[in-house]
């Protein structure tokens, strides 16, 4: 006879507030084979686990059902607890009576009835549980970081420092990311390049770090500890090992019509270009869509002027395959395209610019060498309007529902840049709320108002009218006074919402990492596992997980690195024991299962079988490689003779649940 113990958790009032937990325990106590049932305030706590351990000893339990929160939360906890008293961890089942019951229902009687049903289903399943033993797989001691901005660089440096090999894949010709474009950083107003470029150099020179710039991840297969990744190194048309980085080619290139991505279109670049002076690697790349040589066959000036003979028009993309134990996503962000905001003058006047464009305009290394000018006229502005929340907190089709988090601080920073250098320029910031949580942040914003004399107006801009002479008229509201304002600034800065980099979704599909409706990567747990993706072995760093500023990004990058190091430090990983298994006596060797297996985990072998009739027979049957099988169960349904079953989710177990629920 089986001895099942049932433990009903109150989860404080989270469950007990809606479910009569004592009634659940009482109801299941009546079921045959249930040797013990009780309820307790916090089953996951040390005391709660002690109750389980004691009950196992007192009642010689061999199976455990915990009615509590989602198994995604505490299944591992209760399995460990069972193991500590000699019960195989896979003899534990969880009935999810919190997320699926108490949290979605209000009526106590209804919730209690549902909780009892769920408990009964878990009991029905656990009767058919069998002890399972995890296998082992090795761990490749190398990590891949996708994205070479501050998040990726920091993660890579931390992993490399711990002694593991790391590769950074960056799609742009240089590492550095968005931070390289910034002038200064809040709340200290220290120069962005001064703190970033040394890190870029460190990454480039670190013996454990390999940089793949101008490269993209093409294909990913495998699983935690054993990912196989194909990287496409796009043809630079320049031999990196021969180039000295002198930049002569970029100066002489006659094609000058392509807007510089790095300078946010405020300046044009050549077809052969190095994004910025401190680029790493400092090797130019030919933009083949813009290059005259590639378009018309005529030109070739860069090749003629190159003193190192590094130009190679015939270079091809190169595919590199490498094995990794862990993958970190650090794909960063971009600004929301503002095409739909013509009412704010975007696309209508050159003097309506985005925040990143302002960073370039104030940056000493930018297109104007740090002189703040109106792009239309090249003249210094006399007054500037900054508009917050453009596309943020916007539930319509033209915006993003979330708060972009960094804008309130950078708006204050931008206002300070301007007032610091040009005390005569008037700066007005329109805001909905000023959100400045963070160390020294609110003080920073107040300094903008109190010391720098920036006007902050609670209200928004409704329309920016552009006149024939380029004059801007801003219609705005001042909600505190109820006034309707008309301003005549020379420059309008739109603090556009941030959004994940456009290839985030493609990578999510490749890695089967979860992604939310806004294309931010989803973390395994919003509070307790913030730098891990639900997909084992995939970690998250920086803006690709959600809006965050540089200090937060750097700390998250470190956290992701710590998780990677923890993984790479392991010699072996316990594999999921819930793998497919073949009941050889009914397998006909038809090979249907092998065709549907996405992992190539099923092969065939001749074996001596004891048939259902009790005779011995030599037969070809399916053999599951448990190291490769990931336990999806596709084969179990494909098998025409139901010989394939999935451990932990056997046909019997699932049917028992169905029967218990219906």
């Amino acid at each position: 006879m089986q001895k099942i113990g049932v433990f009903v958790c109150w989860c404080g009032s989270n469950i007990a507030g809606t479910v009569d937990v004592a009634a659940v325990a009482e109801a299941v106590r009546q079921i045959p084979d249930v040797a013990f049932a009780t309820d307790y305030k916090y089953m996951c706590s040390e005391q709660g686990q002690a109750i389980i351990r004691q009950a196992v000893k007192d009642y010689q339990l061999d199976r455990i059902v915990v009615c509590s929160c989602s198994p995604r939360m505490h299944e591992a906890t209760f399995r460990k607890c069972a193991e500590s008293v000699g019960i195989n961890p896979y003899m534990v089942e969880i009935a999810n009576i919190r997320e699926q019951c108490s949290w979605v229902l209000k009526d106590k009687a209804e919730a209690t009835a549902k909780a009892i049903k769920l408990a009964k289903a878990a009991i029905a399943k656990v009767r058919f549980n069998t002890p399972l033993h995890a296998g082992k797989s090795n761990v490749v001691k190398r990590a891949l970081v996708i994205g070479g901005g501050i998040a990726g660089i920091q993660t890579a440096l931390d992993i490399a420092e711990a002694g593991y090999k790391v590769d950074i894949v960056e799609k742009e010709p240089t590492i550095g990311g968005r931070m390289a474009q910034l002038d200064k950083t809040f709340p200290t107003l220290d120069c962005s390049a001064c703190i970033l470029t040394p890190k870029m150099v460190d990454a480039a020179q670190h013996e454990n770090i390999t940089l793949y710039t101008y490269s993209e991840v093409e294909k990913v297969s495998g699983f935690v500890g054993n990912f196989d990744v194909t990287i496409r190194k796009k043809a630079r048309s320049v031999k990196a090992d021969m180039c000295s980085g002198c930049g002569l080619c970029t100066e002489k290139c006659p094609s000058r019509k392509t807007p510089s991505e790095f300078d946010m279109g405020l300046k044009n670049r050549g077809a052969i270009y190095i994004p910025f002076a401190q680029a790493i690697p400092k090797v130019p790349v030919i933009d083949r869509d813009a290059c005259l040589k590639f378009k018309t066959g005529k030109c070739g000036i860069c090749s003629m002027v190159c003193p190192c003979e590094a130009i190679d028009y015939t270079q091809q993309d190169e595919l590199v395959t490498e094995k990794y134990g862990a993958i970190v996503l650090a794909t960063g962000f971009e600004l929301l395209p503002l095409d739909k905001f013509a009412d704010l003058g975007w696309g209508v006047s050159k003097d309506v610019i985005s925040s990143l464009q302002l960073e370039r305009l104030t940056n000493a290394a930018g297109p104007t060498e740090g002189h703040l000018v109106c792009p239309s006229s090249g003249k210094e502005p006399k007054s500037v309007v900054i508009v917050s929340c453009v596309g943020s907190r916007d539930t319509t089709e033209r915006g993003k529902t979330y708060c972009s988090k960094i804008c309130c601080m950078y708006n204050a920073k931008h206002a300070m840049y301007i007032r610091e250098k040009y005390p005569n320029v008037d700066v007005t910031v329109f805001y909905i709320d000023v959100r400045t949580p963070g160390k020294g942040f609110d003080e920073f914003q107040r300094r903008a108002v109190e010391e720098y004399g920036v006007h902050y107006v609670r209200g928004q801009v409704g329309k920016v009218v552009v006149d024939g002479d380029g004059k801007l008229t801003v219609f705005a509201s001042d909600l505190n006074s109820g006034r309707h304002l008309m301003l005549f600034p020379d420059l309008v800065v739109l603090a556009a919402a941030v959004k994940p980099a456009p290839d985030a979704r493609k990578l999510a599909t490749m890695l089967t990492a979860s992604i939310d409706n806004d294309d931010f990567y989803v973390e395994a747990h919003p509070k307790l596992r913030p730098v891990e993706s639900p997909t084992a072995g995939v970690f998250l760093s920086g803006m690709c997980q959600g809006p965050k500023d540089i200090p937060e990004t750097v700390s998250q990058a470190g956290a992701a690195a710590a998780k990677v190091i923890g993984l790479l430090a392991k010699e072996h990983l316990a594999t999921n024991p819930c793998t497919a298994m073949c009941q050889e006596n009914i397998c006909s060797g038809c090979k249907t299962c092998a065709h549907v297996c996405p992992y190539g985990a099923i092969t065939y072998a001749g074996k001596q079988i004891i048939t259902l009739a009790g005779t011995r027979e030599q037969r070809t049957v399916a053999v599951v490689n448990e190291a490769l099988c990931q336990g999806c169960g596709a084969c179990t349904v494909a098998c025409p003779s139901t010989a394939m079953d999935l451990k932990g989710f056997t046909n019997k177990q699932i049917l028992a649940e169905v029967d218990a629920l219906c």
């Binding site: 909905i432 801009v461 409704g462 329309k463 705005a476």
Partner: protein, 129 residues
Amino acid sequence: MELTDKELAEQILHLAGTDVKRCIQCGRCSAACPVGDKMDFVPSRMVWELVNGHGASLIKADAPWRCLSCFACEQRCPRGVSPAAVMEAVRLTEIRKQSANKLAAESLENYPADMPQQALVAAFRKYSK
């Protein structure tokens, strides 16, 4: 029977048919309103009064009679709220009352002959029963 402030607000809310709770008081509607400077209650204030159940102050407001129903407020609202519908609801609450017309039929003669009837129909629809 006189309606309380709250009941009045509920009635207006029902007529407006827009979810004013979504409003974050950003003020874009007020900024976008072409006649906002002539309103005693700017559009965002109208919405705010309704969110907080101040029906009586909405009825007293002059703003709905200035509103053009040009939908700039609704179009530019980042939250999908329609202040224009709130204006309309207040107008309707008034003009549906007995003899509360804001525009007398007799005044018709005073308008220029070339004024399109579209203007007159619209104005009478907005200002009278």
